[in-house]
Amino acid sequence: MKIFKIIKKDFKILVRSKSSALIVLFGPLLLILLVGLAFNTTSLQGIKLGVYSPNYNELTNGIIKAMEDEQYKVVKTETEQQCIDGVKMGVYHICVKFPDGLEIKNQAKNTITFVVDQSRVNLVYAVKGTINNKIGEKSKELSLGLTGIIVTQLDKTKTELSSRTGLFSDMRNNVDGVESKLSELQATVNTVNLSYTNESDVYMGKLIQQVKSIEADLNETAAWNADIEDLFDNLKDKLDIVDERLTALSALEGSLNGGFGNIKESLTVNRQKINEVESSSNQIISDINNIAVTDVESIVSPINTVTEPISVGKSNLNYLFPTLVMMVVMFVSLLLSSTMVIREKTSSAYFRNYISPTHGFIFVFSTFITNFLIVLMQLIVVFGVMLYFDPKMINLLVNVSGVLLLIASVFILLGMAIGYVFKSEETSTLGAVSVGSILLFFSNTIFPLETLPTAIREVVKYNIFVVGEELLRKTILFEYGLEQLLVPIGIIAAHIAVFIIVIILIRKWAVARYNIHKHFRNRKIKS
């Protein structure tokens, strides 16, 4: 079958070209192996938290301890600014700001603030989530405590009220007794007839008439005697009635005295019971008043958290911008320079350059400058877009340009080294993409570096993508001056020096040999 012959031929060619075989077959495997080893973990490691509180109390210390229990390294800073600057500098992953006098009480503003670097959004969410959980646990614990106090009080009140339930029954019985007694007394009173008003009126009228008659009769003596007698009779009758009534009243008085005595006694008992109830109520009220936190919000979530970005007024584009620019610069520089070198190297004209009196370094430097100018043109476009969206960035232009050109230089040199190592454009491109991917995988872009094992992270922190991204973030987002970034600039400069040496060595030993071989093909003798 022709197809199999062709496939067999293709495989032979592939395997016999060492660099192609290495890149095509083993490159992806190596990549997977490295990434697999590196990211085979679920936890965040080596997280450093900056913590600031105007005053540390039991509660803040408790929360800090909870974070420390999570294997986070917690550093208490002297000032709030130190804490925030630590995040900007990358010393701390998150700054945790406690409010002044964090305590559980009514109307307390227990808001813990996370100051985060939004440009490291994946790390921020991961760490913030974990810390939030820890603080949430503490908050829940406090909430449970507060709710427990209230529930206990309710329970106590219930018990107290239950124990006093008999008093109400007794009081009700007493009141019933008083009511019954009063009814009796009312009935007794009703039986006493004290209404003699009409009769008295009649009698008085009669007595007045009799007095007038006696006055008239004064003039007529006979008549006077009869009238006097009659008057006395009437008076006697009247007095009899009064006497009768008074007797009845006297009886009533006795009856009432007895009744009122009973009522008084009942009321005295009731008063005692009411005093007892009042005492219980006062106790309950006092106990309730003793509950420190009654504010519903404070009970439900005694501690709140808010997140503040270090640099305010920035959109997501701003935060992603350094990473995006880094990716563009890295891939453009790597691919462009490696392609340019391999094209030059594999061109027949390369040999003539090699044998010319011009020093090899001049060619390397010229290739670098060519690439640099192309990347510069692309960066001008990127800057144009950047300034269109955020005109304020014009102030950062000098610093950002300096940093970007430094970063571009290191990637161009790396790309050139790749170009000099490989023999064909295809393998060189594959090599450049693979190297770029590795640098990208081992950066903060996909997973936070903090997910890597410590040993690997110690190496990866010198990854030029990581260092470059840090430089860009600090320059663009935190507006750092170059003098504040001497360490990462130094790392990039060291990489540049190493790559220059590597390029010169490779060019001298490997590439020239390849091209010279190419130009000296053996020929058969012909006559």
Binding site: I355, P357, T358, K518, F520, R523, I525, S527
Partner: protein, 314 residues
């Protein structure tokens, strides 16, 4: 004439393989010097050593008395090199290529334009100076390549298989060009697997076999020393070759042989002997075909290599 390039006892080994074994050559100035040898004989390694790519394990290469190793910069300045491939940028025009390589070869900018014009005239590419190199024909491209090697007016031009892959007419063009360049007192060292061409073109040749120089000298010297005499090949109707040879006893003939239908007569001076041969044939037979063959470099080469093999085999 003092040698412009002296290759003195140059030995080059790769592992246990001795590629150049005490090679010594004196290449005179202003001559066309050919290096011929079988595939794997060490020609390539010798050229690599001459241009300074390989450092010899032993011996040295001297250009005008200056050590290649110590004066590489100077030597690069006086040497032009054209490989089998055309070492030009296809996307640059003819003039741009020349100007670029001129700059790389430290030609001052004020003389570069003059040099370029001169070279364009020399290689007859003036009319194509603004054409992209990739648009040139094979012969033009080869001329451009040689022009690039000449742009810095080198004293020595090294050409590796300069007529490789060209048709006979273009080959002739290039040979003429090489002669023209040489007329300007440029020393030319070339390798070629086309021995006839080397024979015609070169003032001196060196034959290399298994890393050693078997012989070096002018083609005439080599032919005299290592080839059989000139030959007269003839075919007659009745093939009375014995009778013919008996009539030529006193004609200065060095020998004869019969190969197939032909009688081959060896002589120091074939043109002179031919007269006697034709008279003898006329007397005893009828001539059908006659051919006069002079000795060639190929013959020298074959004889020398055969001798070497025989020596080796014991």
């Amino acid at each position: 004439m003092p040698a412009q390039i002296q290759i003195v006892n140059v030995t080059k080994e790769f592992g246990k393989n001795v590629i150049l074994d005490k090679v010594s050559l004196d290449i005179p100035a202003r001559k066309i010097y050919g290096i011929i040898g079988e595939s794997g004989s060490g020609k390539t390694t010798l050229l690599k050593t001459i241009i300074g790519y390989w450092k010899p394990d032993d011996g040295e290469v001297l250009y005008e008395g200056r050590s290649l190793e110590k004066d590489m910069k100077f030597i690069k300045q006086i040497v032009g090199f054209a490989t089998q491939d055309n070492c030009v940028y296809p996307k640059l025009t003819v003039r741009e290529n020349l100007e670029y390589f001129g700059s790389m070869s430290n030609v001052p900018s004020n003389t570069l334009e003059r040099n370029t014009d001169k070279i364009l005239d020399l290689v007859e590419l003036k009319n194509a100076e603004n054409k992209l190199a990739e648009e040139l024909s094979g012969g033009m491209m080869r001329r451009l390549d040689i022009a690039c090697a000449l742009i810095h007016n080198p004293k020595i031009l090294i050409l590796d298989e300069p007529t490789q892959d060209l048709d006979p007419l273009l080959r002739k063009d290039i040979m003429n060009l090489i002669r023209k360049i040489n007329e300007n007192d440029t020393t030319i060292i070339l390798t070629s697997h086309l021995l006839e061409e080397t024979d015609q073109l070169c003032d001196e040749v060196a034959i290399i076999h298994e890393g050693r120089v078997l012989e070096a000298g002018t083609p005439e010297q080599l032919k005299n020393n290592y080839s059989k005499n000139e030959e007269i090949h003839l075919i007659t109707r009745e093939r009375k070759y014995k009778t013919i040879m008996s009539k030529l006893k006193d004609s200065g003939i060095k020998g004869s042989s019969v190969e197939g239908n032909s009688l081959i007569i060896y002589s120091d001076n074939a043109e002179k002997t031919l007269y006697h041969v034709l008279r003898a044939v006329d007397e005893v037979d009828k001539l059908i075909e006659v051919d006069l063959k002079k000795p060639t470099l190929t013959e020298v080469f074959e004889n020398l290599t055969k001798r070497e093999r025989a020596k080796k085999e014991g």
